[in-house]
């Protein structure tokens, strides 16, 4: 039941979402393919499209929910903006991305002679995800479902009914289900990351402050792994964590003045914070107040142009990691061109979560194509889990779905991960706009090899 009165409630929910976003982006922004490099486009998933839409023999299918001779119908359920304590657009934006993708594919003839259809998404009102999932299951009218939600309590009911589920991956436990496909594979929460260390090295930062919320294990652990990453490379970089607090109160109701004062005293020159958007803004405001406005913050989850622009020059100079091909990158030759075209065609506003919708809709499509014309739900799930290099046409680092549901470990990031860990990175310029950092618009991905975790030298690549 939705309770618009939030507090502990919204705290935990908002936090689990936003910090998890950060974790997804920061810790697995994502795994690179074994063979992919800057000159290769490992988009094998694209090849099935024409076969599935044109020349193949039409197979009439009986008894598969949501499938008729004309269409393949999907459900959508998740948190709407009006039910989200933070007010951010979640499920509706994801649905817009899915609708745009489906329109794009349908314009080419659909798949297996059928159109792809997304029913109007349902609001889970923050706390009714399980009930809404059961409503979808009980109706038996859908082949699969899409979900972007704050609380994924109903995902297991969807997959338990044999339906494939395509999601905004901010729930690392739930995506371990073989039938759940996110915009990123299951992440390694406790793995240290090198992107922040490297970014700090680039700007000559040596004294770091690291922050996380005490109320969230996600945020806390993220702060701890950030500190561990700095310490791991300290000999080479000379970097040190001089201010550390992983017990901040959610929402910073008491402000963060004492911690920023400690930053002033310790000459901090870069901040790594695993906190939510509003918390980042409070932190930036306090830093501005105490004369640290020029010290950059490394954000895991602030890739939101409107939010950054609204904050004026608060975030200028800050780093932001992005889990998909950033909008500032070269779109030509990637799925982003079609994304932009079809979002415009449908009159939808481009957003981060819409891009997520587009990416997972492509996963749904590629799974159908791979399953062949005589498909059913299990065949699509199985076929998707055989795809080894899903990139959504260059929008995300290659995902190997044969291992993508099992998180890598800190010591072995290759077996269930990949040879490289890649993250796109942008920086806020003087006009409060994002621009690609590290790489180039053509090769925006910053990738670190996983066979030697001590190596701090990234490779800049493109997957388009």
């Amino acid at each position: 039941m939705q309770l618009n009165h939030t507090d502990g409630f919204s705290r935990r929910l908002a936090l689990s979402v936003l910090v998890a976003i950060g974790l997804v982006v920061a810790s697995c922004g994502n795994s690179g393919d074994d063979t992919a490099d800057s000159d290769e486009n490992p988009s094998t998933t694209e090849t099935g499209g024409s076969d599935a839409t044109g020349d193949e023999e039409f197979v009439s299918i009986e008894g598969v929910p949501g499938v008729t001779d004309d269409e393949i119908r999907y459900a959508g359920f998740g948190t709407f903006a009006e039910s989200n304590p933070l007010g951010t657009c979640v499920m509706q934006c994801m649905a817009e991305g899915v609708e745009a993708y489906f329109a794009y594919r349908n314009s080419e003839g659909g798949v297996h002679g059928r159109e792809l259809v997304l029913d109007d998404p349902v609001n889970d009102e923050l706390t009714k995800n399980q009930e809404k999932a059961l409503e979808i299951v009980s109706a038996g009218e859908h082949f699969g479902a899409f979900s972007a939600t704050q609380v994924a309590s109903g995902w297991q009911d969807i997959t338990g009914a044999g339906m494939p589920l395509y999601v905004w991956n901010i729930h690392p436990v739930e995506t371990q289900d073989e039938a759940v496909f996110g915009n990123a594979p299951t992440i390694c929460i406790e793995c240290t990351q090198r992107n922040a260390v490297w970014a700090g090295q680039q700007i000559g930062a040596e004294n770091f402050a690291v922050f996380g919320y005490g109320v969230s294990e996600n945020s806390k652990l993220s702060a701890q792994t950030s500190r561990a990453a700095i310490e791991q490379h300290a000999d080479e970089t000379g970097q040190e964590v001089v201010v550390f607090d992983d017990n901040l109160d959610f929402g910073l109701p008491n402000g963060i003045a004492p911690q920023v004062s400690a930053m002033v005293e310790n000459d901090v020159d870069m901040v790594l914070s695993s906190i939510d958007l509003n918390g980042q803004k409070t932190l930036a405001q306090e830093m501005e107040r105490q004369g640290l406005g020029d010290v950059p913050i490394f954000h895991p989850n602030t890739y939101n142009q409107d939010f950054v622009a609204e904050a004026g020059d608060l975030f200028v100079g800050d780093f932001v990691t992005v889990g998909f091909l950033p909008f500032e990158a070269e779109a030509e030759g990637t799925g982003q061109a079609a994304f932009r075209e079809w979002m415009g065609e449908l009159g939808h506003e481009i957003s981060e979560v819409a891009m997520v919708g587009w990416i997972v809709a492509d996963a749904a499509y590629q799974g159908l194509v791979a399953a062949g014309p005589d498909f059913d739900q299990q065949k699509v799930i199985d076929a998707t889990n055989q795809i080894t290099d899903f990139t959504a046409d260059g929008l995300v680092p290659p995902i190997d779905w044969t291992t993508g549901h099992t998180p890598p470990t800190p010591d072995d990031r290759i077996t269930n991960g990949s040879e490289r860990t890649c993250t796109a990175m942008v920086r806020v310029n003087e006009s409060a706009e994002f621009e690609i950092y590290g790489g180039t618009p053509e090769k925006p991905w910053v990738c670190f090899a996983n066979d030697d975790l001590s190596v701090l030298e990234p490779e800049f690549v493109s997957f388009g």
Partner: protein, 703 residues
């Protein structure tokens, strides 16, 4: 050495300054809280909601309508806020003036739920991400002044500090030196005596409510810039902290509230400044550093409630002329015949069994889910029946007890591979011990203070206890979630939804029988005796403390059983969905509205919580009646928010009918039946009661 000392002093002073802005926020709320209490005698838990309404109105006018500051301020603070106060007084509190503290408290809890939701619906207001609410002065967040060269304050913060100090001074002057201030206090003390002196109590009371609501409005607008997204829950959480500040002044002293608020802010800032340094050299301080900051307000509140004797004696003002009213008709005098009681119980049982049979044979997964949820929730609600219905204590931490049961199952199964049912029983025992422990310090407090202490405990549980790995799961919950298995009972595997529903109904029936027996047994009679007259009860050898301890323990035990049922049903603890503090506050509202003293009230409260939205608001029932979902009028589906608005405002009925709407209806029918049989009695024909006798009622419920 001198350098070090000087540095420490500078840090001390800087932390002092840094604590002032958040401290001012607490102080503003605390002042408003004291103001409301002094001028209306109401322990107003809706103060945060009133503040939110003005803050949201100001935000909407400024950001969405593009108004300038002055008209936006006039609308939100000078017009809307007093209007809200006037309406609250005229429609609700004027009729509750002589009611006891507890009914008023429940009404304010209902308002705390209903008001922000009503505003959001009527004004189509939603949180706007990224847009920080602006203050009431231009460039309030971006222009800074550094009077001591140590820490700069923003314009917004300086304005807030100035308003807090001026308000404290002006309000203190108002009460001390003006006739209107004196009259406000007099009306709170005795409206009848005030009226006998020719003072229009209604008008004075209306002015008092407008004044306190105006102050809520100005406080809301002033503190809004501290939130980067406006959310009602933040205001409610803030209010809990403000109560801690207000309690420093025993709810009566405006300077005390100001000092309490500022002191809390400063204390937290000092702790955040020095604890990390000390913890570096003294590792034993680390756990303290980890948990102290979020716990400080609740520890302060709890400490004051428990350790300051004066606050325990701070009883609500009682009207010395209250006795001039004729005694309210005691509906307890109306007895239903054994045949009627038996018939209604049989009918109820047949209805429940019938519904169960239909759901088990015809219901789809959704209906099995909803009914099971209602059953688990009803079990939790029965804990409210025990502690509030029987014990007369308002406990706002039943969610924490329920969560204790749920987490116990998760932990014991995960760590020790224990069966889910033994784990649930262990969890219930732990919760009972926790309840008994909690009752020790609060058992001597008055009703309202028990409510506040338990609310503080609920937030303490939420922000501190839950973070302990052996409670919330720590890394385990992060890596594996908080999955809870369905139990196996002998040869029966309750893994399927329908078999678990049967199990849940059996558990509910057992708990219901336990509650009925408690009510008619020694404990029930003891608690009734204490509610009737604590002194008289003591004179016959009853120990109120012991009885309340048992009531708390039993109530916590039942809540934990219900919590573990809920977790097993959803196969996950889902703390945020099921047990967070404010949600648990709403439980009380639901049960209080429908029937806090009966098993049927708890069950129907749970049914309402679970089914009102899909059946009524989403139009499923209408669709079924019309035999076609397509025929349902376009007004459906109605947003779920209306559940909170309707039941929140429904709490107003608690003051008039403290037995709950359902029991009241039963009584009314019984009264009519008795009149038919024996002729008209002396009371009003509808059998209604005033809130005045809430705490004195001793009659037996019928359900």
């Amino acid at each position: 050495m001198h350098v070090l000392a000087a540095s420490a002093l500078e840090d001390l002073f800087r932390a002092f300054l840094q604590g002032l802005p958040p401290g001012t926020v607490y102080a503003l709320f605390a002042l408003g809280f004291v103001l409301t209490y002094k001028t209306s005698g109401v322990f107003n838990l809706a103060f945060g909601a009133q503040a939110y309404v003005s803050a949201a109105m100001f935000f909407k006018a400024r950001e969405q309508w593009g108004w300038e500051i002055p008209p936006a301020l006039v609308l939100s603070v000078f017009i809307l806020a007093p209007l809200v106060g006037l309406l609250l007084e005229g429609v609700i509190f004027r009729h509750l003036r002589t009611a006891g503290d507890l009914p008023k408290l429940v009404v304010t809890i209902g308002l705390a739920v209903a008001l922000p939701n009503l505003f959001n619906v009527l004004a189509s207001f939603e949180p706007t991400p990224g847009v920080t609410p602006a203050g009431i002065v231009p460039d309030g967040a971006t222009v800074f002044y550094d009077p001591f060269g140590v820490y700069p304050f923003s314009r917004d913060e300086l304005v807030a500090v100035a308003v807090a100090v001026v308000a404290m001074t002006a309000l203190a002057g108002l009460f001390r030196f003006t006739a209107i201030g004196l009259r406000m206090r007099a009306v709170v003390e005795s409206p009848r005596m005030t009226e006998l002196n020719g003072i229009p109590a209604d008008r004075i009371s209306a002015v008092a409510w407008m004044l306190s609501s105006f102050f809520a409005g100005i406080a809301g607008v002033l503190i809004a810039p501290r939130f980067n997204t406006l959310a009602p829950g933040d205001f409610f959480g803030l209010m809990v902290i403000a109560i801690a500040a207000a309690s420093v002044g025993k709810l009566a002293s405006l300077p005390g509230a100001l000092v309490g608020g500022l002191g809390l802010g400063v204390f937290i800032a000092e702790a955040n400044t020095f604890l990390p340094r000390w913890a570096e050299s003294s590792s034993w301080l680390e756990p303290l550093q980890d948990n102290l900051t979020p716990a400080i307000p609740f520890m302060v509140l709890f400490g004051i409630l428990v350790l300051v004797p004066g606050i325990r004696r701070a009883k609500a003002a009682t009207d010395p002329l209250a006795g001039v009213d004729p005694p309210p008709p005691s509906i307890g005098m109306v007895e239903r015949s054994r045949r009627d009681v038996l018939l209604s119980r049989v009918a109820g049982t047949v209805f429940v069994v019938g519904v169960l049979a239909i759901v088990l044979t015809q219901g789809d997964q959704v209906w099995v889910f909803r009914i099971t949820e209602a059953v688990a929730l009803a079990t939790i609600f029965l804990s409210i029946t025990v502690i509030t219905g029987l014990g007369g204590q308002i406990s706002l931490c039943q969610g924490a007890f329920a969560a204790t049961g749920a987490f116990a199952v998760f932990q014991l199964v995960d760590r020790y591979d224990m069966g889910a049912i033994p784990a649930a029983l262990v969890g219930a025992v732990i919760a009972a011990a926790l309840g008994a422990l909690l009752s020790l310090p609060v058992r001597r407090l008055g009703g309202v203070w028990v409510a506040i202490a338990t609310l503080a405990f609920a937030y303490f549980f939420d922000s501190v206890v839950l973070q302990l790995p052996f409670v919330g799961g720590g890394d385990t919950s992060l890596f594996q979630g908080t999955a809870v298995p369905r139990p196996v009972v002998g040869p029966w595997d309750l893994g399927s939804d329908k078999s678990f529903l049967v199990f849940a109904v059996v558990v509910l029936a057992i708990v219901a029988v336990l509650v009925v027996n408690l009510r008619s047994g020694t404990l029930g009679k003891t608690l009734l005796a204490i509610r009737g007259s604590e002194v008289a009860a003591q004179s016959v050898g009853i120990s109120p403390g012991r009885a309340r301890l048992v009531a708390f323990a039993v109530s916590a035990f039942i809540a934990a059983i219900g919590g573990s049922l809920m977790a097993m049903h959803q196969e996950n603890v889902n703390y945020g969905n099921n047990f967070e503090p404010f949600l648990a506050v709403f439980w009380l509202v639901l049960v209080a509205v429908l029937g806090v003293r009966t098993v049927s009230g708890a069950i129907q409260g749970a049914v309402a919580f679970t089914l009102f939205d899909p059946l009524i608001l989403k139009g499923e029932l209408l669709g079924w009646i019309l035999r076609s979902p397509e025929s349902v009028p376009g007004v459906f589906p109605i947003v779920s928010t209306w559940v909170f608005i309707l039941f929140g405002f429904g709490a107003i009925q608690f003051a008039r009918h403290p037995q709950g709407i359902l029991e009241y209806q039963l009584h009314r029918r019984a009264v009519k039946a008795a009149e038919k049989r024996d002729g008209p009695g002396p009371g009003p024909p509808d059998g209604s009661s005033t809130g005045a006798e809430v705490d004195e009622r001793t009659e037996e419920p019928v359900g």
